[in-house]
């Protein structure tokens, strides 16, 4: 069963998730991969970031579950965890944790980018970047380019 969640800041951490994963690990697990998305202090345009504000719809958890389940059903994947922080997040703080346990390192190295790409493209989660100069939703930034 995949393990996913949407959290406020401070409710979740990589050490806690890793420990939870370790408590019930299959005998065929030889590799664990983790990804942590961190808020950068400089925007794409080089402006100093004050914070990012993440927002999600009520469907976000269901979508994260679906993404995680799609990967977890592979025979060489034991467990997928996706935990997103939806809150006001300062530079240096974590926005997302993705963990994958699988048979070999290739299994987890393949799964991690797929999971992140799908979360970015499919999960109903948005972010607004607030820099010292201005504030904008990140999709607006993409539009300008």
């Amino acid at each position: 069963m995949p393990d996913v969640g949407i959290h406020l800041k401070g409710e979740v951490s990589l050490p806690d998730l890793f420990q939870k994963l370790r408590q019930d690990i299959g005998e065929n697990v030889g590799a664990v991969g983790c990804f942590v998305g961190v808020v950068r202090g400089l925007s794409e345009d080089g402006e100093r970031v004050k914070f990012l504000r993440y927002e999600s719809s009520e469907d976000a958890v269901k979508k994260l579950e679906q993404i995680a389940a799609d990967i977890e059903k592979r025979p060489d994947i034991w467990r997928v965890m996706i935990h997103h922080v939806v809150d006001q997040i300062a530079p240096g703080e974590d926005a997302i944790y993705v963990l994958v346990a699988g048979r070999r390192r290739d299994d987890v190295f393949r799964a991690l980018p797929e999971l992140m790409n799908r979360v970015k493209a499919e999960a109903p989660i948005w972010k607004k970047e607030v820099t010292e100069q201005r504030e904008y939703w990140v999709h607006e930034l993409a539009e300008r380019k």
């Binding site: 927002e55 979360v119 970015k120 999960a123 109903p124």
Partner: protein, 98 residues
């Protein structure tokens, strides 16, 4: 025309900001195009700019419209019919995850 239910419209991200509410009720709209017209009437130029490519009635590529959870690109686009009790969600491209 239509029961008391009407159509529920949910907004997210910049749309929620523009509207100042998480959701509104619209008494009736024949299709998505008519619903969006009604939203522009209520919420003005800012809503129009967020929905449409400038000076057109073509939805911005970054705008997603779901009717009862299904994207209108998989239905009939702006011509997708609406009926009482439908829930429409409007939001920009998602960008979660650090």
């Amino acid at each position: 025309m239509g029961s008391a239910l009407g159509i529920t419209v949910k907004f997210f991200a910049n749309f929620r900001e523009a509207v100042g509410q998480e959701q509104v009720e619209v008494a009736a709209a024949m299709d998505v195009a008519a619903l969006l017209d009604e939203l522009v009437r209520r919420f003005g130029e800012r809503m129009a700019k967020q929905l449409y490519e400038s000076g057109s009635k073509k939805l911005c590529e970054t705008v997603n419209v779901l009717v009862n959870g299904r994207g209108i690109n998989l239905l009939s686009g702006l011509d997708t019919k609406l009926k009482d009790g439908d829930v429409v969600a409007i939001f920009p491209s998602v960008s979660g995850g650090g």
